[in-house]
């Protein structure tokens, strides 16, 4: 059942991604709407699986594959929330493919592998806070990409094709900021609880230092973004580049993370 839900939601997200991408380039009014239907279907399936997993296991997000599953669920959920609030289906053409990538990674970590995460309270808070902040940063990354594309199109004075389907510059800029400003405190919380959790469980290993360093760099990147967003000389293009760098650091941190 769990395998089926996983596969089905992956297919649904894939369809949603294809439709959203097509919507950017083709003139067909219904494409985005169909994409949203697929995205909602996939999200429902994922939610169902999440509920079933939580009921079955005493500790949710007990391993790497569950954590990544949760990340893709959060990305899709956040995107749908943004869609409901801002009506920006164009964001889906990047957010949904990223949800697909995250979901496909679940297959890279067969269920028990990666070992169980420490079941105590600190680590549970750590995992939820970190993953939620990563989902928020992923969407902020999407916003930054669209901001930079739209900014370039506006500067080069080209208004055809994709231009009309992209979100307005100011809207996407402030949306990216909102997302990062929720993600940042969550990241802070995640890092602190992570350090505390490791200390408490005396699980310090050789990887811990690298983990700590990359996390700290990521944290500083987002801290810089929060300042840059409203500083003269940084606002706009440069600030959004920081957002993209931040997302890449996030991905790097995740890759180095051993989930132990």
């Amino acid at each position: 059942m769990s395998e089926f839900l996983l596969g089905a939601s992956l297919v649904a997200y894939f369809i949603a991604s294809a439709l959203y991408l097509a919507n950017l380039h083709l003139k067909h009014k219904q494409l985005a709407a169909y994409g949203t239907v697929a995205a909602i279907a996939g999200f429902s399936l994922q939610t169902l699986r999440l509920i079933l997993q939580t009921l079955n296991q005493s500790t949710p997000f007990a391993n790497a594959s569950e954590a990544i599953f949760f990340l893709s669920w959060a990305i899709a959920g956040l995107y749908l929330a943004i869609l409901a609030w801002y009506r920006l289906p164009s964001v889906g053409s990047l957010a949904m493919p990223l949800a697909v990538v995250a979901l496909a990674l679940v297959y890279r970590f067969p269920t028990p592998a990666g070992g169980p995460l420490a079941g105590d309270g600190w680590m549970r808070i750590h995992v939820v806070a970190i993953i939620t902040s990563f989902a928020l940063f992923t969407l902020a990354f999407c916003c930054a990409v669209f901001y930079l594309i739209q900014n370039k199109l506006l500067k080069s004075k080209r208004m055809t094709g994709m231009f009309r389907r992209l979100p307005p510059l100011k809207t996407i800029d402030s949306l990216g900021y909102h997302l990062a400003s929720i993600g940042f405190p969550l990241l802070t919380l995640g890092i602190i609880t992570g350090i505390v959790g490791v200390e408490m469980a005396r699980m310090r290993d050789t990887g811990a230092e690298i983990k700590l360093v990359t996390s700290a760099i990521t944290w500083f990147a987002y801290a810089a973004y929060m300042v840059a967003h409203s500083s003269p000389g940084w606002r706009g293009k440069k600030a959004n580049w920081i957002l993209i760098v931040g997302a890449l650091l996030t991905a790097l941190t995740t890759a180095l993370h051993k989930f132990s």
Binding site: L154, M159, P168, K170, S231, P232, G236, K238
Partner: protein, 438 residues
């Protein structure tokens, strides 16, 4: 019964000719009345805008088309010779197709524009008030209006900028999203600046300020646009607050340099600014557009955007033509049901079926009759049917050639209980040639 449109438009005639043949809205009822007085005109509607004057009419026969030209000539008091070369005529389904392309905006100077839809609606309303449109034209115009709406909602024929003002609105939307909260600053009180500001206002912008070297003109324009005037000396201060700046002064040199702009941006804390420079010579140094968060468009940029949108809309023409073809077919098949030939055919068929059914029902009871007697009975039945149907058939043919015959044919259909679809079905094999039908 002959459906025809005669007229001229911006493609066939220069404005010098068009203005001579135009009928103002106030004069329309009188013109329609004059036209209706012609015996051969059953229904008519006159569409007269600055780009076209067209008469849509249902007349008794093709030979009488000249009546419409005679009307134009006598109504305007100009000889036929002077405009005949500019006139086009479309008959039957071509006339239907023509009206549909007009409402869809394909026939407009600015392709896909919205105005024409309102103009056709108005012309149709006036004709309706004059009672000059009945079954056929009512149906035709109602369908034409819905074609216009379909084309605009189902294709991108009306998307994008139609003018510099539209382009400005579209850009403002792409930068800021909503225009509601934007504050607009107009430099100079020129006509172009006013026009552009009006577009932004109609798109939702509310806060307007005007700076002009002559304060009185600034005041005047500010009142007109519902905004306020600011002293020209301090327009750079106003620029630190505004979201959209429209430059349209007559200054010989740029009034805002890149350095000044950079300073303004620092004071604005880099809040994005959209600058529309429609002045020639330009008001804002072109280099200022290189600064981050400054979106500077001059008149050529905007014009290029309009051209681009026109090109984009041209790509949609084929899709609109498909809609028009589909709707023309729909109208055509309805129009055919008004025709007399299919009606007579159906009627004959109906009588024959009746005779056959009666015979089948009673043949058993007549078995005792000799072969010859049975034949006599059949002949009797046939001749009875012929006699009964003789007069209706003659009358139906007569109606066909009278101008309002189709309404009488409607009555005939009702009397014999024939519904429209039946006629259509009987005619199906011939449907390949739509022109023959109308």
């Amino acid at each position: 019964m002959h459906l025809v449109v005669v007229g001229l438009n911006h493609k066939t005639a220069q404005v010098e000719v068009r203005e001579k043949l135009a009928v103002s809205e106030a004069d329309l009822p009188k013109a329609i009345e004059t036209l209706q007085a012609c015996q051969c005109v059953a229904e008519c509607c006159i569409l007269s805008t600055c780009n076209r004057t067209e008469i849509y009419a249902l007349i008794d026969s093709r030979e009488n088309e000249e009546v419409l030209l005679d009307f134009i000539s006598s109504y305007h008091g100009i000889p036929k010779m002077s405009f005949q070369d500019h006139i086009y005529r479309h008959r039957g389904h071509k006339a239907v197709e023509h009206l549909f392309s007009v409402t869809a905006g394909l026939d407009s100077m600015m392709i896909g524009e919205y105005q024409i839809l309102g103009q056709v609606k108005d012309a149709f309303c006036i004709a309706g008030e004059c009672d000059s449109t009945k079954t056929v034209l009512n149906n035709l115009f109602q369908q034409a209006l819905s074609v216009g709406k379909r084309a605009r909602s189902e294709t991108d024929i009306s998307k994008g900028a139609f003018s510099i003002g539209y382009a400005a609105v579209e850009l403002a939307r792409s930068i800021f999203g909503s225009l509601q909260e934007l504050s607009i600053l107009i430099l100079g009180a020129g006509k172009m600046g006013e026009l552009t500001a009006k577009h932004l206002i109609s798109a939702g912008a509310k806060s307007i300020s005007v700076a002009n070297r002559t304060p009185a003109r600034a005041e005047e324009l500010a009142v007109k646009l519902g905004g306020c005037a600011v002293p020209f000396e301090s327009f750079t201060d106003a620029m630190t607050q505004a979201d959209v700046v429209i430059g349209s002064t007559g200054a010989p040199e740029p009034i805002v340099t890149k350095d000044q702009m950079a300073k303004i941006m620092r004071i604005r804390r880099e809040k994005p600014i959209f600058m529309i420079d429609i002045a020639v010579p330009r008001d804002i140094e072109a280099d200022a557009g290189d600064l981050d968060n400054v979106f500077l468009y001059d008149i050529d940029d905007l014009q290029a955007l309009v051209q681009e949108s026109v090109a984009e809309r041209h790509k949609e023409i084929e899709k609109v033509r498909e809609i028009i073809a589909e709707e023309t077919r729909k109208f055509n098949s309805w129009f055919r049901t008004l025709e007399v030939v299919p009606l007579i055919k159906t009627l004959r068929q109906q009588f024959d079926d009746l005779r056959e059914a009666e015979w089948q029902r009673n043949a058993g009871k007549l078995g005792h009759l000799s072969e010859k007697d049975q034949q006599t009975v059949q002949i009797m039945m046939q001749s009875l049917i012929n006699r009964i149907s003789h007069n209706p058939m003659i009358k139906i043919k007569e109606y066909a050639s009278s101008p309002d015959g189709y309404s009488k044919l409607d009555t005939a259909r009702e009397l014999f209980g024939i519904i429209a679809e039946e006629v259509e079905d009987a005619e199906k094999p011939e449907q390949n040639d739509p022109e023959a039908a109308i």
